[in-house]
């Protein structure tokens, strides 16, 4: 049990936060999504989503681009390779912990 608990302490805290985990999970299922879609899907306020995306971008897990679709301005977010790897690792660590304690 001790080792598993120590494993929990090694969890990536950037991803472990529930709102950020949801954002990263949504982005892991699509090629890219814009700010409005993420806001609605995650049920977050604009300011909250901006703050979480900022942290994910800082960690190199998410790439944010301002672009246009036709004449419509979009803030498009995409999970980077590092973000994808971090999510996979996080899932493995959680699965190991749940297996060992369940």
């Amino acid at each position: 049990m001790g080792d598993e608990l120590r494993g929990l302490a090694d969890l990536d805290r950037i991803i472990h936060e529930p709102a950020r985990l949801l954002i990263v999970t949504i982005l892991s299922t699509v090629e890219s999504a814009d700010f409005l879609f993420l806001q609605r899907e995650a049920g977050l306020t604009k300011g909250n989503l901006s703050a979480h995306l900022g942290k994910l971008e800082e960690a190199g897990y998410v790439e944010i681009k301002k672009t246009f679709k036709g004449k419509l301005p979009l803030t498009v977010c995409k999970l980077t390779k590092a973000g994808s790897k971090a999510l996979t690792l996080y899932r493995q660590q959680m699965a190991r912990f749940i297996d060992s304690t369940g």
Binding site: I26, T29, V30, F35, E41, L53, L72, R91
Partner: protein
């Protein structure tokens, strides 16, 4: 955790159908084009110039219609859907696509073989329209209803099966039979898509505040 991811994936797949444009333009539009095509093909005799051109041009009508429908859906989504509920670019999952295509073709093949069997035993049905109804119904179930769990696709699929079976014993000329099938399916897609779009617009009015900041 995997289950939650699957739920998120399914919700995001369903998002493509949230505004009804797929049915309205892709389904309804394509079916009405095919209805016009088959009635024109039946109207003009095979040995006339227009009849000959029409017979040779089905593939072009299909490809042209699909390209046009895709472009129109993209334009409508940019103008109506993305400003209201956001933009998503879907990932091309090649393995899943290949699996679903193989499954669809296998189902269509089994259905076609079944139709041939029925036709040989009972010569009073128009196999072509029955097969069209069955294949369209099967594709709707396999590719749309099953993968997205959008309930209205089950109804459209059932309608396609019933319509194809009913028209197969109607005794109309084959061209008119197919035109009637696609015409009525086009109307069904149109009603389904129209109602979905009306509900979507009612539930998601355009925000006066720019919602896409980051």
């Amino acid at each position: 955790m995997g289950n939650e991811t699957a739920q998120v994936e399914q919700r995001i797949r369903r998002y493509w159908y949230v505004d009804g444009f797929g049915e309205l333009v892709g389904g309804g539009g394509m079916c009405l084009i095919l209805a016009l095509y088959f009635s024109a093909e039946q109207y003009y005799a095979e040995n006339t110039l227009i009849g000959g051109i029409l017979q040779a041009g089905l593939v072009l009508v299909l490809i042209g219609g699909m390209i046009l429908a895709r472009r129109l859906i993209a334009v409508l989504k940019i103008r109506v859907t993305y400003p209201r509920t956001g933009f998503v670019e879907y990932r091309m999952d090649r393995r899943n696509r290949i699996f679903m295509s193989v499954l669809s073709f296998a189902a269509a093949g089994i259905l076609a073989a079944g139709i041939v069997f029925v036709v040989r035993r009972f010569d009073f049905i128009d196999a072509m329209v029955a097969m069209t109804g069955l294949v369209m119904g099967a594709i709707l179930i396999l590719k749309q209803a099953w993968s997205t769990k959008v309930a209205r696709f089950y109804f459209l699929s059932a309608f396609s099966l019933i319509l194809g079976s009913a028209l197969s014993v109607s005794g109309f000329a084959r061209g008119y039979n197919l035109a009637l099938f696609y015409g009525l399916m086009g109307i069904a897609f149109g009603i389904s898509g129209g109602l979905t779009l009306a509900r979507y617009l009612r539930e998601n009015p355009m925000s006066t505040v720019a919602g896409n900041g980051g």
